[in-house]
Each structure stands twice: as C-alpha cells, then as structure tokens.
C-alpha cells in the first residue's frame, strides 16, 4: 500500500463517515459542525489533487461563509421543538432503498473508469512551476471569460433576491 493510497483511504473513510454523520444528526447545529469538519477534509483531498487554491477557496467560501450563513439561519429556529421531533420521514426506508440502489447501480459502472482522452498540457509540474493561483488566474480570465461574467450576474441576482425576500419593509 503506497503512501498516496493510504492517504486516499483515510480521506475516503473520513469523508463517507463524516457525511453519514452530517446527514443523520438530529440537531441541525451538530449537523453544521460535522459539515465543517467534512469541508476541511474535502480541502485536504483537493491538496492531494494538486488544487491548493481550490482547497483555500473551499475553506474560505464554503466552510467560512456558507456554513456561517447556515448557522445564522439555524439560530433563527427554536431548536427545542426540533430536538423532540422525528428527524427522518415516515417512509425513510424508501429513501434508503433509493440511495442504496443508486450506489449499487453506479459504482460497478463507474468503477471501470479509465483515463480516455489524451493528457492535457497542464501537467502537475507545469502547474507547480508556475504557481497554482497564476495558472488559475491566467486560464480563468482568458479562456473562461464568459462564465466569469455570468457568475457576476448570478451573484447580483442573489443579492437582489435575498434583499427582496428578507427585508421586511422595503422603503
């Protein structure tokens, strides 16, 4: 078992365990906390896939901003009532069946995934030589300009939406 395989095994087990924990916690706050640890592990995995900048962003945006947003919303609820309630649907067996079926159907098929297309030019060495952020920056603002502009629109729409919906009296 080579070192990368050990690391991958750790990450795989950690990720699945944490996600199961996130999904099955009764109290949403616990769920969010486990989610935080999950995101950190995902960031770690990105490191192993030579995507340091993404790992940073994962921590900053996902763990830092979005989870905080969730926490704020969770704070709005009265957790006492949620504690006592069932956490699963009546027919949760059906949900379990579907996701298990999902796994059994996809895994054998996806398991046989081998690298098909010819390797691109951004090999690991090239990225590291140039620096992660530099490569991402160069690629993002030349090749992927259009999605970048659309992303700004999406952010604008989310601002408008959030303000329209949550502001009580719009003066």
């Amino acid at each position: 078992m080579t070192l990368p395989q050990i690391f991958f095994a750790y990450f795989a087990v950690a990720l699945t365990g944490l996600s199961l924990l996130v999904v099955t916690r009764r109290n949403p706050v616990h769920g969010v906390m486990w989610m935080l640890i999950l995101f950190i592990h995902v960031a770690g995995l990105y490191l192993f896939l030579n995507a340091e900048f993404l790992a940073a962003i994962q921590i900053i945006v996902y763990a830092g901003a979005i989870l905080v947003l969730y926490l704020f919303v969770v704070m709005l609820l009265n957790l006492k009532k949620i504690e006592k309630e069932r956490k699963f649907q009546h027919i949760w067996i059906v949900g379990l069946l579907v996701s298990v079926a999902f796994l059994t159907l996809l895994i054998p098929l996806l398991g046989k995934f081998s690298v098909y297309p010819p390797p691109g030019e951004y090999s690991v060495e090239r990225i590291n030589s140039e620096g992660q952020i530099m490569t991402v920056g160069r690629v993002l603002y030349t090749k992927f300009l259009l999605p970048f502009e659309i992303a700004s629109l999406i952010l604008l729409v989310s601002i408008i939406g959030a303000v329209v919906l949550s502001k009580r009296k719009l003066n």
């Binding site: 192993f48 900048f53 945006v61 704070m75 957790l79 952020i133 530099m134 959030a162």
Partner: protein, 123 residues
C-alpha cells in the same frame, strides 16, 4: 505521475494540524474517562454569573443578522475572484482589467441596490 501526487510542501501543515487535533481531543477524552460523574440540575444549567438563568439559553436571532451574513457571502466570493486576477494581472493586460471592471461594476450595482434598500442599516 498524476496517480501518486503527494503535496510534499504541505506535509508539515497537515502534520501540525493532526497533532493539535490529537492533543485537544486527547485531553478531552482523558478528562471524560477519569472524572467522576454526578450531575445534578443546577450544575447542568447554563452559567449566568450566579443569578438564575432567564429565558431561552439561545435567544432567537432576528433577520438582520441573516442579511449581513448573506452580503458577506456574496462579497466574499467576489473577493475570491479578485485573488487570481490580482496574481495574474501582469499577464492579462488591459483586457483582463476591463473584464474585472465589468465584474466589479455589476456587483457594485448590487451593492448600491442593497445599500439603497436599507439592507446595510443596522436599526
């Protein structure tokens, strides 16, 4: 080769992280195992510097907290887009600059809108 890439220059970071977590958890677990367990009502109540606890332990947040958090998320993402731009600025030249200006302007409109709608006022 892409299969067995190890981010060697991050190993120290990872090792420190792992070590700190171990120390923290170790202390907690050890305490858990060793200490006696005799809980009674008052001990479990949240500590409010001596006087009787009043109301919910966790009072409900109002909406304005949410709005601030939401604006933070959006502008945080905007900032994240700025990092690679800043790093690769010299390679992009005028074209990159114009792109980013469009991006900034669009989000500026969002900011002006939020500001005018009183989302930022913390009444």
């Amino acid at each position: 080769m892409s299969g067995n890439y190890i981010p060697s220059h991050y190993l120290p970071v990872i090792s420190i992280l792992a070590f700190s977590v171990l120390v923290g958890l170790g202390a907690l677990i050890a305490g858990l195992l060793v200490r006696p367990r005799r809980p009674y009502e008052q001990k479990l109540a949240p500590y409010e510097s001596g006087n009787l606890p009043v109301g919910e332990p966790r009072y409900r947040f109002s909406v304005k907290f949410y709005i601030v958090a939401m604006l933070f998320v959006v502008f945080d993402v905007e900032a994240v887009f700025l990092y690679p731009w800043a790093v690769a600025y010299d390679r992009l030249g005028l074209f990159g600059f114009v792109e980013m200006m469009i991006f900034i302007v669009i989000l500026l409109v969002g900011y002006v809108y939020a500001w005018k709608k009183g989302a930022l006022t913390w009444e």
